[in-house]
C-alpha cells in the first residue's frame, strides 16, 4: 500500500474523533434546551391566553426598544473609542486603551445601583418640576421615557466594552497600509473609519455587538429596576406570578426565535466575504496622527466615557464600602465567596474554551451543514434567560438521574450534580456561555487562511498535528481572550448560580446581590461587589496585555 493512502486513512480516522467529540458536546449542551423547545409543541398553559391578549405586544416592543437602543449606543461608544485609540495620538492614550475595557467587570445590577442617585437626585426633582408645570399625566409619560433612556445608557455603559474589545482586535488585524492608502487618497481619519476600518473589522465588531445585544435580551435586574417590560421579565411574570411554567418556557422559546433572527442578521451583515488575514509587510500605522484639536476631542471622548462607565460607579462603591467598613468581614469573604467564585469561574472558563475549540475545529474540518447547525445549536443557551436554563437543566438531569438509577442501578446522579458538587452548575455555565467562547474562536479560525490547513496536511500532518502545531498557536490570542471574558462572565453570573449552587456555597455575585438588591444593605453589600469588580478588572488587565502583545507581536 502506498504510504500516502495510509496517511489519508489515518487522517480520516483522527478527523473523525473531532467530529464525534463535537457532536457529543453539542448533544450535552443542547439536550437540556429541548425542554424549552418542546414547549412550542405542547398545548399552552392557561396563562398563555392572558399573555398573548394583554402582555405579549408590550414585551416584544420593550425588547426591541432596548436591544436597538443599547445596540446602537454600544456600537457608537465601542467602535468610536476603538477607532480613536487605533489611529489617533493623544494624552493618556495607553491608559485609556486599557481603562475603556474595565466596565466589563461591573455587573449590570451593580452599574444600575451605582446610578441609583440619578433616579432620586436628578429624575425625581425634574419630574416634580414637570408635574407642577404640566400636570401629572405629562409627568407620568416623561417618567417612562426618562426610564427607558436611563436604562439604555446604563446598560450601554456596562456592555459597550464587548464591542470595544472586538473592534480593537478587528482594527489591529487591518494592515496599516490600507488606512494609509485611504488617507493618501484624501480621506480623513474619520471617514477612513467608515470606508476601511468598519468594513474590514466587520466580523469582529458584529460578533461583539451580538454578545452585547444578547446580554440586553437576558437582563432582568436592571429592567425591573426601571419598570421596563421585555420578554425576559415576561418569562418571570408568567413563571412566578401566573405560576405557569409552560407559558414561561413558551415565552423563552419566543425569545429564542428572536435570537435566532439576530444571529441570522449577524450572518447577513458578515456577508459572503471571506476575511482571511492580511498579513502584509506593513502591519502598523507608521505613526498615529496628532493634531491639537483632534487630541483634545479624543481625550475628552475617552475621559468622559471612562468616567461615566467606570470611575463614577466604582467611586460610589468605594464610598459605600468605607461607610460599612467596620461591619465587613474580610476573612469570611475571602474564605467563602472569593474562593468559591474562583473555583467555579476557573473550572468553567477552562472547560468551556476547550469545548469551544473542539467544536470550531471540527466545524473547520467538516464544513458541512450538519456541523454548522451544531455550532449554532451550541450558541442557543446564550439566548435563554439564566433562570430558564437553570430549570431546564434541573428537569433534564433529574429526569436522566431517575432513569439511570431505575434501570441501570446507578447511584444518585441528582445529588451528585446539585448537592454534593457544583457539577450541575458548571454544566449550566457551559450551556449558557458557549457563545462568548465560540464567537471569538470561530472568528479566529476564519482568519486562519485555509491554505495553511492544506499545506500542513500536504506535509503529512494529521488533523491532530495540524491542530496543535498550526491552529492552536495561531489561535492563542482569541483563546486567552475568550478565557478572560468567560472568567469575568461567570464571576458576574447570577441567576444560574442562585438556583443551582450546592448548599452553603456563596459567590461574590450572590453575596453582593443578596445584600444590595434584596436587602438594600448597601454599606455591607458594596464590599463584596467591589472585590468582584476589582477581580474582574484584574482579569481585564490581563486581556489588555494580551491585546497589546498581539498588536506588537504581529
Amino acid at each position: 500500500m502506498p504510504k500516502g493512502l495510509l496517511n489519508i486513512n489515518n487522517q480520516r480516522f483522527s478527523s473523525f474523533w473531532w467530529w464525534l467529540s463535537a457532536a457529543f458536546i453539542a448533544v450535552v449542551l443542547f439536550s437540556p434546551l429541548t425542554v424549552v423547545l418542546s414547549s412550542l409543541f405542547k398545548a399552552p398553559g392557561e396563562g398563555w391566553e392572558l399573555i398573548t391578549e394583554y402582555l405579549l405586544v408590550d414585551y416584544i416592543l420593550g425588547t426591541i426598544i432596548m436591544t436597538l437602543g443599547v445596540g446602537l449606543t454600544a456600537l457608537f461608544l465601542g467602535v468610536g473609542s476603538a477607532w480613536i485609540i487605533t489611529v489617533w495620538d493623544f494624552p493618556c492614550k495607553r491608559f485609556f486603551s486599557l481603562a475603556l475595557m474595565m466596565p466589563m467587570a461591573i455587573p449590570t445590577y451593580v452599574m444600575a445601583f451605582g446610578y441609583s442617585f440619578v433616579k432620586y437626585d436628578i429624575r425625581d426633582p425634574l419630574m416634580l418640576f414637570i408635574k407642577n408645570n404640566w400636570g401629572a399625566v405629562i409627568m407620568s409619560q416623561s417618567n417612562e421615557i426618562f426610564n427607558y433612556g436611563l436604562a439604555i445608557l446604563i446598560l450601554s455603559f456596562a456592555l459597550y466594552p464587548y464591542v470595544y474589545i472586538a473592534a480593537r482586535v478587528g482594527f489591529s488585524e487591518i494592515s496599516g497600509t490600507y488606512i494609509e492608502n485611504s488617507r493618501l487618497l484624501g480621506r480623513g481619519l474619520f471617514r477612513s473609519m467608515f470606508s476601511v476600518g468598519l468594513p474590514l473589522a466587520r466580523p469582529a465588531i458584529v460578533g461583539g455587538l451580538l454578545l452585547a445585544v444578547l446580554e440586553v435580551m437576558n437582563e432582568y435586574g436592571a429592567m425591573t429596576y426601571y419598570g421596563i417590560e421585555t420578554l425576559t421579565t415576561g418569562i418571570f411574570v408568567s413563571w412566578t406570578d401566573l405560576g405557569d411554567k409552560d407559558s414561561a418556557v413558551r415565552l423563552a422559546a419566543v425569545a429564542m426565535v428572536f435570537v435566532l433572527l439576530l444571529i441570522a442578521i449577524e450572518r447577513l451583515l458578515r456577508g459572503r466575504a471571506k476575511f482571511h488575514a492580511h498579513r502584509s509587510s506593513s502591519n502598523n500605522l507608521s505613526g498615529p496622527t496628532r493634531t491639537n484639536a483632534g487630541a483634545v476631542i479624543a481625550f475628552l471622548f475617552c475621559f468622559i466615557l471612562f468616567t461615566v462607565s467606570f470611575a463614577l460607579p466604582v467611586i460610589n462603591l468605594c464610598i459605600d464600602t468605607l461607610h460599612g467598613w467596620e461591619k465587613s468581614k474580610l476573612t469570611d469573604l475571602i474564605q467563602g465567596p472569593l474562593i468559591d467564585s474562583f473555583i467555579v469561574s476557573s473550572i468553567g472558563c477552562l472547560g468551556i474554551v476547550i469545548a469551544a475549540l473542539v467544536i470550531s475545529y471540527a466545524a473547520r474540518l467538516f464544513p458541512t451543514i450538519f456541523m454548522k447547525s451544531i455550532t449554532k445549536l451550541c450558541m442557543l443557551g446564550y439566548a435563554v434567560p439564566g433562570a430558564v436554563v437553570a430549570i431546564s437543566i434541573l428537569v433534564y438531569f433529574s429526569g436522566m438521574g431517575s432513569f439511570l438509577s431505575e434501570f441501570l442501578g446507578f447511584g444518585s446522579l441528582t445529588s451528585l450534580f446539585f448537592t454534593l458538587t457544583p457539577a450541575g452548575l458548571i454544566i449550566a455555565y457551559f450551556v449558557r456561555f458557549m457563545t462568548p467562547a465560540l464567537a471569538p474562536i470561530e472568528a479566529g479560525m476564519i482568519r486562519i487562511n485555509a491554505s495553511m490547513d492544506e499545506a500542513s496536511s500536504m506535509l503529512g500532518r494529521s488533523s491532530w498535528g495540524s491542530f496543535f502545531n498550526v491552529h492552536l498557536p495561531l489561535l492563542r490570542f482569541p483563546l486567552f481572550g475568550a478565557m478572560i471574558v468567560l472568567f469575568v462572565d461567570i464571576l458576574k453570573e447570577l441567576p444560574l448560580t442562585l438556583v443551582l449552587r450546592p448548599p452553603n456555597i456563596e459567590t461574590l455575585a450572590t453575596t453582593s446581590y443578596g445584600l444590595i438588591q434584596k436587602e438594600e444593605r448597601i454599606a455591607e453589600g458594596s464590599f463584596p461587589a467591589l472585590i468582584l469588580v476589582l477581580t474582574g478588572t484584574l482579569a481585564v488587565l490581563a486581556l489588555h496585555i494580551l491585546i497589546r502583545k498581539r498588536i506588537v507581536n504581529k
Binding site: G227, T233, P503, N504, A523
Partner: protein, 344 residues
C-alpha cells in the same frame, strides 16, 4: 509559599467539605434550608439555634419559585428539609405542588396563631408583615385616609404610588380584597387605583416611599418593615425619607389592615424532619420572636406583643383575620385581575 499553601488548603477543604457532609449518616445533626429570605440577621438566628441544639444549619438562598422548582426536580433526592418563603401565597403554591408534608407539634400549634398556619401543618408563619398606606406628613393628614377601598376614589388622581403587580405582596393584598369584596369589586378597585397612580409602577417598596418624600405622589402602598429599614439606614438620605413619611393602618373600623407572613414548611422528602420541626419551633419561639422586630422590623406572630419602640410608635392596629391560606388560593385570580387593570 505559605499563602499558596493556605489557598490550596482551602480549595481542598471546600471540595471535601462539600463531599464529606454528604457521607455523614442521615442522623448527623443537621438541617438544610431552601430559603427565600436573604436577611443576614437570619444567619445569626441559625447560629444561635446551632449553639442551643447542636444541629448544623445548611442554607441555599434563592427566590421561592426557583427553590420550589428545584425541590420538584430533585424529588426524593432533595437535600432540602425546610422551605422558607416570604409570603403565604408561595407556601400554598409549594403545598399545591405536593412538595411539603404535614408536620405537627404541640409547641408549634401553641406558638403560631391559627390563621397563620396551614390546618394540616404543611407550613407555619414565623414573622408578620403588614401592607399599609405610607403618606406624606407634609401634604396629607391621617384623617384624609381610611381604607384600601378609598384609594379607588378619583380624589387621589395622580397621587398614588405602588410597585409592580408582579410583586407578591401586591398580589396578596389584592387576593385579600377579592376575598372580601369579590372578583368584580377587586377588578374595579385595581383599575381605579391604577388610574390614580402618579407614575407607572416601578422599583421597590422603598422607592415608593422615596417618591412620596420627593413629592412625586402623596400616598404609597408598602410594607411596614421597609419604614424600619429606612429609619435605621446608614444612608442619611434614607433617614430623611423616613422622617417625611407616616404609617397608616387602613380599614381599622372594618376587617383590619392586610397582613401576611414569612413562613416555612417541611419538605416532603426531608431526611431530618425532627430537626426541621425543631428549627420551626425555634423560629416561632420567644427568643427569635423578640429578635425579628429589632433586626428586620417585622412584627412577631403576636403583633401587639413587642417592646420595639419603632414598631410601638406606629400604634396598635387591628389585623385582618383572614386565613392566610386564602391568599394562596386566590393568587392566580389576583394576577389576572392586575393584568386586566393594566397594573404592570
Amino acid at each position: 509559599m505559605k499563602t499558596l499553601f493556605k489557598s490550596y488548603n482551602s480549595i481542598i477543604n471546600i471540595s471535601f467539605a462539600v463531599f464529606a457532609f454528604s457521607f455523614l449518616p442521615a442522623n448527623a445533626q443537621e438541617v438544610t434550608l431552601y430559603s427565600h429570605r436573604h436577611y443576614e440577621a437570619d444567619d445569626k438566628l441559625y447560629e444561635k439555634f446551632t449553639k442551643a441544639t447542636g444541629i448544623k444549619v445548611n442554607v441555599v438562598k434563592a427566590s421561592a419559585d426557583a427553590l420550589i422548582e428545584r425541590i420538584k426536580a430533585e424529588g426524593k433526592e432533595s437535600p432540602a428539609d425546610l422551605l422558607i418563603a416570604a409570603d403565604a401565597g408561595r407556601l400554598v403554591r409549594a403545598q399545591d405542588a405536593g412538595i411539603l408534608q404535614s408536620a405537627t407539634s404541640a409547641k408549634l400549634e401553641k406558638q403560631v396563631p391559627k390563621n397563620m398556619r396551614d390546618e394540616e401543618g404543611h407550613w407555619y408563619g414565623f414573622t408578620v408583615r403588614s401592607r399599609v398606606l405610607i403618606y406624606s406628613k407634609d401634604r396629607i393628614k391621617p384623617s384624609q385616609l381610611s381604607t384600601y377601598e378609598d384609594l379607588a376614589d378619583p380624589k387621589w388622581k395622580g397621587k398614588l404610588l405602588a410597585r409592580s403587580s408582579s410583586n407578591i405582596y401586591n398580589q396578596s393584598l389584592l387576593a385579600s380584597i377579592i376575598a372580601n369584596n369579590g372578583k368584580q369589586g377587586a377588578a374595579k378597585w385595581a383599575a381605579a387605583v391604577r388610574k390614580n397612580m402618579a407614575r407607572p409602577p416601578e422599583g421597590s417598596d422603598r422607592d415608593q416611599m422615596r417618591a412620596v418624600a420627593a413629592g412625586i405622589g402623596d400616598v404609597a402602598i408598602a410594607n411596614t418593615y421597609y419604614v424600619g429599614l429606612l429609619v435605621n439606614s446608614s444612608n442619611p438620605k434614607d433617614r430623611e425619607v423616613a422622617e417625611k413619611v407616616g404609617v397608616f393602618f387602613p380599614n381599622q373600623s372594618g376587617r383590619g389592615a392586610h397582613v401576611n407572613i414569612s413562613g416555612g414548611g417541611v419538605v416532603k422528602w426531608s431526611k431530618n424532619k425532627a430537626n426541621a420541626i425543631k428549627l420551626l419551633e425555634f423560629l416561632t419561639g420567644s427568643e427569635a420572636q423578640n429578635q425579628f422586630p429589632v433586626t428586620t422590623y417585622e412584627f412577631p406572630l403576636e403583633v401587639s406583643s413587642t417592646d420595639s419602640p419603632l414598631l410601638k410608635s406606629w400604634g396598635k392596629f387591628k389585623a385582618d383575620s383572614l386565613a392566610l391560606s386564602e391568599l394562596g388560593k386566590l393568587n392566580a385570580e389576583a394576577v389576572k385581575v392586575f393584568a386586566l387593570a393594566n397594573w404592570k
